[in-house]
Symmetry: C2
Subunit: 281 residues, 2 copies
């Protein structure tokens, strides 16, 4: 059975549309997201466009601000600081990766934690790490929304996460722990990866290698979540060999149509959360 992220994200849009309408009625304006893209890599262009479109579909304002690849770090931070104090803006998303002449952490820490919709400000990372309410990165949040929707029981289950990035692996591991899963974190230096994956009740893969997880690595009946998006000969391929692994998994996300749409859905919820925080302060 498929974990249908595309379908769930579509359902969520109905909920989000209602929320936006209610907020507009209550506070006189709709949530507003600014997406900043430095450079014009086709992959990044596609991502920011789909984020903007999703905002618009649910009635939010969204603008993509495109900056030249040679923009200085200083100029980018100046722009961020202007947006931080602009009351008409609720969310600021800096599309990654930034060009190599910029320090990503340094730049992201200039986005106000109250307008950070990617959960990448250090203070939002700290809140997640210490179980305080804050903004959670959209991909792990989207995964958790999907597992929750499909009523995947995590309590006491062995969740195995492949990957330990700040964007996915680490926050996802913490969210699974907070749901009382027993969590194992694997990565490129892990020895005998199969020993761990074969024991996983829920296997979550974010290692960025096409079809890395094969059928022989998965326990019968496991839930498999594929966070990978790799382009192989122009085709999108996940980190899981879907065709074969789906024969043993009880639930599995396709690529595309699994985690991807849920990431965008979670982003929209983050924008609304920041909007609401503003009016509750």
């Amino acid at each position: 059975m498929i974990l249908d992220g595309k379908g769930l994200a579509k359902q969520n849009e109905t909920i989000l549309k209602e929320k936006v309408t209610n907020l507009k009625g209550k506070f006189g304006r709709v949530p507003n997201l600014k997406v900043v893209l430095v450079g014009d890599s086709p992959a990044s262009m596609a991502y920011v466009t789909s984020k903007k479109k999703a905002c618009n579909r649910v009635g939010m304002d969204a603008e993509v601000i495109m900056l030249d690849i040679n923009t200085t770090e200083h100029a980018l931070i100046s722009l961020i600081e202007k947006m931080n104090v602009d009351d008409a803006i609720d969310g600021i998303l800096i599309q990654l990766p930034l060009p190599k002449h910029m320090n990503e952490t340094y730049v992201l820490n200039h986005v106000s934690p109250n307008k950070d919709v990617d959960g990448l400000h250090t203070i939002n990372g700290g809140k997640l790490f210490t179980k305080q309410d804050g903004i959670v990165p959209a991909t792990p949040l989207g995964v958790m929304m999907m597992l929750d929707h499909y009523q995947v029981n995590l309590e006491g289950k062995h969740a195995v996460v492949i990957g330990r990035s700040n964007l996915v692996g680490m926050p996802l591991s913490k969210l699974l722990l907070d749901k009382n899963a027993t969590v194992t974190i694997l990565h490129s230096r892990t020895k005998d990866m199969k020993k761990y994956t074969l024991d996983a009740d829920i296997l979550l893969v974010a290692i960025g290698k096409p079809k890395f997880v094969t059928k022989d690595m998965v326990k019968k009946g496991a839930v498999v979540v594929d966070v990978g998006i790799n382009r192989v000969d122009g085709v999108l391929v996940g980190d899981v060999d879907f065709e074969n692994v789906s024969e043993v998994a009880s639930l599995i996300t396709p690529v595309p149509g699994g985690v991807g749409p849920m990431t965008i859905s979670a982003l929209l919820f983050n924008v609304i959360k920041q909007y609401e925080v503003k009016y509750h302060d």
Copy 2:
């Protein structure tokens, strides 16, 4: 063989004493720690006294500020804010637990991240979570110093952590991951704990239950680190059944004399780090 935290902490004091002498020569003053204790619980009194004494042994200034148990949160925060802007103070430690009428996270987030020596400010948690340089909680830092000293190889090894607290379990897990261990985090809701502990190359226990880990739960040759400090009939007992587990472990920490002294040692290094950051800014 014993992981001799007491002995290592003593060796560290020679290093720390030298550092303090050098800093005094360079900047004209020694590092200064303020330890704030609200109330007079005997256990907390013993902890703060041993911290102050350790500071003094290596030549640092340290003062214990004792506040009445009925001190308001507001009064405590006012005191912290005064200390934050006092250039003669390098480190501020708020002894936990605080009385129940206070919100610990709220109070700890008022300590300047640049004077936080417990690594409990949210921003320091976020730095650890996202692999930025910052202040790490003393107990996990002390454990890592000990493993490093005994040249315990973590690369690709299976490290199993029992406990997921903000003070020990979570930061310890992240530090082990950063050393390329494969990390599993167990906790009170884990089912079949033995399955995981028996596979551990390094087993780290911080669950707060006397003699919780028994011989049958430990793989032959494993390294066992006991973070527990429990008082049973007036005697200090760890979370590990030391007598029996030491028959199978290759390396094991005693309680007392293991992690405890290393925690204080790590605290002193944190104070010096904050002092040095001040002069490098």
